[in-house]
């Protein structure tokens, strides 16, 4: 299978003192959902920001679809949803979607169509005219996700996208993620929740900036002779 992302010997020292990543070498398959699973402070966000190209990589290399991460040629192909909302909370949901769609190069008319589609896709059609700051945490999260989905990116990088969502919404979003993957989108989804790991095609377990394991969930359980990703994680860290 074709690989979407190749990371080679990536090490990262944050603020010159905190070792966020240690000699990470990984390949992410195209059209798959890869879960980046690990506790808070494991290095997930640093790895994600390196892939999206927001962090310079002084040591090691990150290549996305054959280009250096952050290259101008990747800006329409890669979309990122950060843990912060990163939307205009003083604008309405539709205004946010329209604006970001325009920034992705769509005409006013195209942007209006995109906004309608994404409102439906994220189950936010009835909130189109609501100002984002008036919405609940989960709804705001969906606005941020909808923005990331603009323009059908080839790579979707989502940092903890299902935090604060109720189980029904979470389940619906996972269905959406699988639909996107089936249509060829590569997804990287970070989570500190081990429960979500089983929904991924592939898992990267990370702790202290080091990759503990990289395999499909069933193979991980088989290899560690455990029954859950949480047990596998504990087994791998020697507890």
């Amino acid at each position: 299978m074709e690989s979407a992302i190749k990371i080679n010997k990536l090490s990262m020292l944050l603020d010159g003192r905190v070792q966020a990543l240690k000699d990470v070498t990984l390949e992410f398959q195209a059209g798959k959902i890869t879960g980046l699973i690990g506790p808070s402070g494991a290095g997930k966000t640093t790895l994600i920001r390196s892939i999206v190209g927001l962090l310079k990589t002084p040591s090691g290399a990150v290549r996305v679809f054959g280009q250096a991460a952050g290259s101008a040629g990747l800006r329409n192909a890669v979309a990122y949803m950060a843990q912060d909302l990163s939307v205009y909370t003083d604008l309405t949901v539709k205004e946010n979607l329209m604006y970001f769609a325009r920034m992705k190069g769509q005409s006013h008319r195209q942007a209006a169509v995109t906004a309608q589609e994404l409102l439906k896709m994220t189950d936010m059609a009835d909130k189109a005219s609501s100002v984002v700051s008036d919405l609940s945490g989960g709804q705001q999260q969906r606005v941020s996700l909808a923005v990331a989905l603009i323009g059908q990116p080839k790579l979707l990088v989502l940092d903890e996208p299902t935090v604060e969502l109720d189980p029904v919404l979470r389940s619906n979003l996972w269905k959406l993620f699988h639909q996107l993957a089936d249509n060829g989108t590569t997804l990287i989804i970070s989570s500190h929740s081990m429960d979500e790991a089983s929904r991924c095609d592939d898992l990267v377990l990370i702790r202290g900036g080091e990759v503990l394991a990289h395999s499909a969930p069933d193979k991980l359980l088989e290899k560690t002779k455990t029954h859950s990703v949480e047990q596998a994680f504990l087994e791998l860290v020697g507890q």
Partner: protein, 246 residues
Amino acid sequence: MSITKTFATAGRVLGQLRHDPRTVVLLFILPPVLLTLFKYVFHDQEKVFDNIAPMLLGIFPMIMMFLITSIATLRERRSGTLERLMTMPVSKLDYVLGYALAFSVVALLQAIITSGVLLYMLNVSVAGGALATIVGAVAAALLGTALGLFASAFARTEFQAIQFMPAFIFPQLLICGLFVARDHMADLLQWIANIMPLTYSVDLMKQVTTAADWTSVHTGDLLVVLGFTIAALVLGSITIRRQERP
């Protein structure tokens, strides 16, 4: 660079203002109210008020625009929206010019309202007329916008952004010739005043107050103010980074 993205950004900034009516009221009402207050402060010295009022018209909009722009752009930097934009095919200049365009519209409206109050309600006579007064006020407001964009790069919090006003603007205010004629100040201060943009903004308004015709001195002052504005916008866009150092 894309002109449509610049216009879309300007539209978005104006949309944000539209959702904040209190700020809109303050933007358009505060400068005329302050000028009116000054009128009554100089109740028995009408001549003094007539002389300084047009210059204040070049200062109040600049200060307000400086504050609004620096806080608005700092909010973008801190909330993650700017970072998100930088992952998209958006040029830094699109973003900065979008802000400049949006606040130019605001500055124009503000200048029209404030000049109207100054000329027709407070009955201050400005030799250069209404149009020249508005041009001077808009140029000053644009300068405030550009300096605010630039200054926001050095602030990490809203508190710091507000502190930049006394740091960036107050020293210029003291030596620009508003309170004491520049040739009465110490040589060093005169030299510093000569390289400060507010000096030329206030000078332009002085010229507008006293000269009936638009002269090369007006044009020179206006060009210096616009030059500083463009330089601050370019520097502001340079301070935006697509990639952080770890």
